[in-house]
Symmetry: C2
Subunit: 204 residues, 2 copies
DNA sequence: GTCTATACTGGGATAGAC
DNA sequence: GTCTATCCCAGTATAGAC
């Protein structure tokens, strides 16, 4: 299942917004702006202008600015959990599964939905306590996918370090690519980058 | 040379502030607050209150709020470059040097100066273009230390992946520990964590 | 569902006394 | 070097018309 199909089925199930709906467009622009300037430095006027409405009109769709941030995060996790599950479904060995996960997470961060993923990583502190709990619960499902595979590799002896620690290290390493990796600007392809990560773990 | 001695010689050379000077205390409190709530959410009134003065008095020490952020970052890099160099000086092989670098960076992030390091990582976007250039120049010296060692390991065949990519991955992985690793709360010690990172790289 | 107008708040920064 | 007082602006959010 490719990413486009996944997205469509999530929209059909009302789990994420169609990106051409008013809500969808707003969330996409919000993700872009939050990533570019940060949540705090993005004003509701910026958000409104980006979708071509007045700032007052925003509050017809969301009660507060923070609710927009939360929505960006929730939809991002939902979408990416589905993408991850699909990416893994083809793989048979744990080695292949890990490669699929790494590749999919790099795609999530540096591809089209990357802006939203970056927001999830870097704007955590701007989320209220109440919202955090909600987002964390969704994130657990996502993390379980990784831990299963890493635990498998540990048992096989392919991995020397603790699966839990490795996952956290990979979270940091992969998220951080958003600050330096430019897929467009020649050099390293996303597949090449995946190879490098696998090589770094001594699993190639 | 231990961290305390390094700090004292840097203070003597006027490269960083003594932490009991007015400026030093302010920077320390600023680092703590910036890390805790983020730069944008920290008000000048918060900063002033933390050092026990009125908000107006802040501007006797720094012309703008952003100048405080820049000062936190500049002093952090200066201090940590010195710490890194000292940590490496004892090591002989490249393997030992890398372990020393990893250990020192983990200490920088999760130890006493950790708040300032975290600010350096997470508040980059809040820095103006002009200030960024200045900070980046300092950072280059620091990064060169890492690249030399990683290149050496690559030549020895101990490292499979590209040194440049590995350094960036490690930057992300090690910085990220600030979000989850709690040295105090039992379990994994900082040495143990270093072991895990080395094991993950297949270098143990 | 969007507009205009505006209320209200809190933030960064300044001035001048002490 | 700190205080008090205050300016000015930008930011979120609301109200009511269309």
């Amino acid at each position: 299942m490719n990413q486009e199909k996944i997205l469509q089925s999530l929209i059909a199930d009302n789990l994420v917004s169609a990106s051409d709906s008013a809500r969808g467009r707003l969330l996409r622009e919000a993700a872009r702006l939050f990533r570019e300037k940060g949540y705090e430095r993005t004003t509701v006027r910026d958000l409104a202008a980006a979708v071509g409405i007045q700032s007052g009109s925003l509050f017809h769709h969301f009660r507060t600015k923070e609710e927009i941030l939360k929505a960006v995060m929730v939809e991002t996790i939902r979408l990416n959990t589905a993408v991850m599950q699909a990416a893994m479904s083809k793989a048979t060995s744990n080695r292949e599964k890990l490669r699929a996960l790494i590749s999919a997470e790099l795609e999530s961060i540096n591809g089209q939905t990357g802006e939203a993923m970056a927001v999830l990583v870097f704007e955590w502190r701007s989320l209220s306590e109440a919202s955090r709990a909600e987002v964390l619960k969704l994130r657990d499902i996502y993390e379980a996918l990784w831990l299963d595979v890493l635990r498998g590799l540990k048992e096989e002896g392919a991995l020397k370090a603790d699966p839990f620690v490795v996952r956290r290290m990979l979270t940091g390493a992969l998220s951080w690519t958003v600050t330096w990796y430019r897929p467009d600007r020649g050099g390293l392809t996303q597949d090449g980058l995946t190879d490098q990560v696998v090589a770094m773990l001594g699993l190639s």
